[in-house]
């Protein structure tokens, strides 16, 4: 029943991208998102696509797995694209193709729609390269390290990271537990598949109560085990696996810096996304 909830879609393999520092990957992902929104014309987006293609190739994750992440938000993309197509009115001069009451389809709207959909695609695919190549634990380690400056304002960075990694660590355990309880209740004739919304919600009670009880039991056990090993928060705590920047990270940063510079130049040189229309309609 819950087999498709593979949280943290980590794809286990060895590659250039996999062995990059999680901090570098996080920063690069953020910069990549900036690059997507910085790009003002299709040439800029083409550069972003090139960068993404390089990242996917060097991550050795099958292209299908990267695409699968888009499937989840495909509805949102299609929905916003359609709204944009029919109701785009920004800008003074529209090259109108077709009009019916308030619905206007113009060349600008079509360009805007394609642009927006492309941006969303690139956004989701880029971030999923991060989650496909980085284990959730490495990711929280990276976040903790990046948030270290916040310790100056007494923000509990270490504790927050610990909470996150415990939560991530227990998701598979609790999914297993849920599957086991669902099976046990099914064996007693529980029916989760038929009936209306309310009946189905009610049918979940025999699963949720034992799950909650077991989550509390596990939390208590874990707390005891941590106490027994003298855990006392971040004070004086050292790391077993230290994060290290390597030449790979330097190369990634260089490439992305190049990408952003390139995009800025392309923006200046070719102008906005509608500039292409001037070329067609002025002729």
């Amino acid at each position: 029943m819950l087999n498709d909830v593979t949280f943290g879609q980590y794809y286990p393999t060895k590659s250039f991208v996999h062995s990059m520092d999680p901090r570098a990957k996080l920063v690069l992902t953020i910069a990549y998102i900036v690059a997507i929104f910085l790009a003002d014309n299709f040439f800029g987006l083409a550069a972003v696509i090139l960068f993404l293609a390089l990242a996917v190739i060097f991550s050795r994750v099958p292209f299908g797995s990267v695409l699968r992440s888009v499937k989840m938000i495909l509805f949102i993309i299609v929905f916003t694209a359609i709204l944009n197509l029919f109701f785009y009115t920004a800008g003074e001069e529209l090259h109108v193709l077709w009009q019916w009451k308030i619905i206007v389809i113009s060349w600008e709207a079509i360009i805007n729609m394609v642009f927006l959909a492309l941006r969303l695609f690139l956004l989701v695919m880029g971030t999923s390269v991060l989650t496909l190549t980085t284990t959730p634990v490495a990711l929280t380690d990276g976040i903790e390290s990046l948030l270290t400056p916040l310790k100056w304002i007494r923000f509990p960075v270490h504790e927050l990271a610990l909470i996150m990694s415990i939560a991530l660590r227990f998701i598979p355990t609790l999914v297993d537990e849920t599957n086991r309880i669902v099976s046990a209740q099914k064996a007693r004739g529980a029916d989760f598949e038929t009936g209306g919304l309310i009946r189905r919600a009610k049918a979940m009670i025999p699963v949720l109560v034992p799950l909650l009880v077991s989550a509390f039991r596990r939390a208590e056990d874990l707390g005891d085990a941590m106490d027994a090993r003298c855990y006392s928060g971040s004070k004086g705590r050292t790391k077993y696996k230290k994060l290290k920047f390597t030449w790979r990270d330097a190369l990634g940063v260089l490439l992305l810096a190049g990408l952003i510079t390139g995009i800025v130049f392309l923006n200046l040189y070719f102008g906005g996304k509608f500039a292409i229309l001037n070329y067609f309609f002025s002729a």
Binding site: T6, T13, Q185, R188, G189, D191, V207, V209, P210
Partner: protein, 291 residues
């Protein structure tokens, strides 16, 4: 009802990097009336196999029939089947959820027999609780969470046997119980075996439990059945079992040592039989010594 599995295969997470074959061609028949033991270490596929018997997992390949039910057929009446094949999971006390013991035990029968009246259900629940050795008046209104560990397990078992399944499957039923609790549990199983419950299947690590209780057993390894037969036959091949990383009963261990010293025992590896055979051997040896 007879259980027939032929070439049963099951793959977890098929078509993903995490795909793993849990069963690769299991052929096993369990006749009505058996007290069947399933042995195997963690990951051998034994738990996966028993979950098929209850249609909780659907086979990736092969065939599985239980009585008149064909479990590989999508049109099979699974609810009806589940009321006839009871399944007690490992640590069944972790599935308790209702406010009172009575409501929890009634859960199964309410799901399976919707036409039953409140009185009939109450009667069935009372009988199930008494079968597992709990005092009806003392526990019926108690919260299942305030009972002791052993009592919780009894309530959970009552919640499965309340529908009087013809086949009862128990996954590690004695895990985590103290020796007395284990003994009482096995006595309970023997007391219902042969009545409305025709076949009992237990999955276990505990070889003494298998040797003591089962009429027949199968050893799982790597998703296959590698040995099958009476416990007395299986435990004769102690070396093969040890090689697989499995344990053997205490009686078999003693018999092995005796064999190394040149005494061969013709025992079925139950405690009583073993002691009797050893005593008779001692008698013989002693008599020879006296001459």
């Amino acid at each position: 009802m007879q259980i027939d599995a032929k070439g049963l295969t099951y793959i977890y997470n098929p078509k993903s990097p995490f795909a793993s074959t849990a069963l690769s061609g299991v052929d096993l028949s369990i006749a009505e009336g058996e007290f069947f033991g399933i042995i195997g270490h963690t990951g051998s596929g034994k738990s996966t196999f028993v979950q098929h018997l209850n249609a909780l997992l659907k086979a990736s390949g092969g065939s599985l029939r239980i009585g008149e039910y064909d479990l590989t057929d999508k049109k099979c009446k699974f609810l009806e089947l589940r009321s006839k094949v009871g399944m007690v999971f490992q640590y069944p006390e972790y599935q308790l959820f209702a406010e009172t013991v009575e409501k929890d035990v009634a859960f199964g029968i309410k799901n399976f027999s919707k036409e039953k009246t409140e009185d009939e259900i109450r009667e069935a629940v009372k009988e199930a609780l008494e079968t597992v050795g709990l005092d009806w008046n003392a526990v019926k209104d108690a919260s299942p969470f305030e009972l002791s560990g052993g009592q919780k397990r009894r309530v959970a078992i009552a919640g499965v046997i309340v529908t009087k399944p013809e086949i009862l499957i128990l996954d590690e039923p004695a895990a985590g119980l103290d020796p007395l609790g284990k003994k009482e549990l096995m006595e309970l199983l023997h007391s219902i075996h042969g009545g409305w419950c025709k076949t009992i299947i237990i999955v276990s690590h505990d070889m003494d439990e298998i040797a003591e209780n089962c009429t027949r057993a199968a050893v799982f390894s790597g998703g296959r059945v590698v040995m099958e037969g009476k416990p007395s036959e299986i435990f004769l091949r102690a070396d093969a079992l040890l090689e697989m990383g499995l344990d053997i009963p205490v009686t078999a261990k003693c018999a092995r040592i005796l064999k190394q010293d040149g005494f061969s025992l013709d025992t079925d590896f139950t405690c009583d039989d073993f002691v009797a055979k050893v005593l008779s051997l001692c008698g013989k040896g002693g008599a020879e010594h006296a001459q």
